[in-house]
Amino acid sequence: MLAPISISLASLNIMTMAPMLIAIVGALAILCIDLVKEGLHKSFYVMVSLLFLLLDLGAIVDFGNIFLKSGTVLGMFDMMLIDGLAILSQIIIVAGSMLFIPLALTSKRFHEYNYPEYFALFLFMIAGFQFMVASDNLILIFVGLETASLALYTLIALHNRSKSFEAAVKYFTMGALAAGFFAFGSMIFYAITGSVEINQIALALAKDEYFNIGFVLVAVVFLLGAIGFKLSMVPFHTWTPDVYEGSSAALAGYMSIVPKIAGFVVAMRLFEFLVHSGVVWLQVVLYVAVVVTMTASNIWALVQNDVKRMLAYSSISHAGFVMAAILIGTTQANTALFLYWALFSFTNLGAFSMLWVSRQKNLIPGQSSDHPYEKFAGLVRTMPMAAIMIALFMLSLAGVPPFGLFWGKIYMIGAAVSAGYTMLALIMALNSAIAAYYYLKLIVFMFMKEPIAEYQKYYLMNASLSLKTIIGIAAIGTIFAVFAVNPLLKVITLFVYNSGY
């Protein structure tokens, strides 16, 4: 007879899963509602999703308070790990999602928003990302990662255009390969340490003083490949521009923010202990990877003809920039990572939303992609506010003060400087200069060229009040970022520091 397994519900601490569960329940609820009554308007689903996400956010904030009082919370056989990083990143994930979901409220009809499954999948995806960041167990991370990714592939495909399918297939296939990397890397770690929990692995490795350095490195290589894919590090980045181009601008913007922050948190958990224990190889490789990712993607962005593709490369570059935090590994750097990403969310939200509102259903003759630069030529004449908005987001992306990203940038470079990475700081700074060129290119088209008549009618075609509100929020967040930086810094530092990073 089997011995009864006695586990008290309290020790299980199921509440640690509450935020994710809220999202999952939300998804299920949407599916159920659809069973009861079909054909509800997309605005209904948007709002229901928002409500669930609001609850989700409330739960996370609640954990924030608990964390500040009593430190890291563990649950579900230590599978769940709610520390500062988890809380911060979940806030970014959920809040970011809340800003992006209303982008469905376009004035044009889009096929995917008529399916309640779209919103359900969206919520599943969010739950997946939340699992990813709220655990240091490789299994759970893997499950979260795949849940989110599979949902994401589907969301992309739902856009129902030839390019979207192509994008989804590409993303999917490469994602499957990356999943293989992840699993294999985990396996090696498991083989040499007997554990799949990152802190256990760290302890085990420290105990035998990295005796199996060769295997450790091989494991790291595989995990780096998997996470590098998620973060679109060169050369695992190749999916990014195609997928961004293929998916709707709203989703592309989302992809540039939320999945990446989840990836960053995993990367922080996985690599920082290695960096700190003096694995020189990893330092060197990360250094090179950061520099190459930043620089190469910047250089490729220079030669793009499509704004969305350009933004894709630009977000690769930003991700590379932020990866530097993991290399630097100080509290300041990790704080900078979250600060940067919080500010980046606003700016990128604005930038992609501006593309989204000018979405056209049918390409005009000679147009090869959705958002060629020419489309924006002379925008300041026809729609000055729109032009100013785009310019604002572009300048912020370029790191021109006092707009949002500038503050993230100086804090990040400041972290590099404080940690003695002088060359890295310089490279980061100079990369911003290269990047300025392609952001400027759009400004040049908008402000300094003559309008092209055929494109005129597509501006703001897709705009609705909700979209304009979102853009307004993004703009306010970008312009007045300076006033938010101090409170943000304080909170982030508190959380990051207390999590031991």
């Binding site: 399918f165 999917f172 296939t173 499957a176 293989g180 083989a191 195609d242």
Partner: protein, 101 residues
């Protein structure tokens, strides 16, 4: 000959390598999916073997999760493949280059 953990791991690695080669070489989307399945199953073998060797169940748990994920991957992947095939009538990778640069 006694079969040790090493053998399992070598097998796992070899399978993984085969999967990798398949991923690189195959132009047929379906075959590509098979290759990715091989990748994951290579890991499964390793996981199970290590789990047995270590005497704890974490590895097996991981393996089960991988199987589940692989299954859902196949579901999504085949779904995409079918839609793609419906739209284009082909499942050849080289046709899939409308975006580049």
């Amino acid at each position: 000959m006694e079969i040790t953990l090493t053998h399992y791991l070598v097998l796992s690695t070899v399978l993984f390598a085969i999967g990798l080669i398949g991923v690189m070489r195959r132009k047929n989307l379906l075959m590509l999916f098979f290759a990715t399945e091989i990748l994951l199953n290579a890991v499964n073998i390793g996981m199970a073997a290590i789990s047995h060797y270590r005497g704890d169940y974490t590895g097996q748990m991981f393996a089960f999760f991988i199987i589940a994920i692989a299954a859902s991957e196949v579901a999504v992947g085949l779904g995409l493949l079918i839609v793609w095939y419906k739209r284009t009538g082909k499942i050849d990778l080289d046709q899939m280059t409308s975006m580049r640069g």
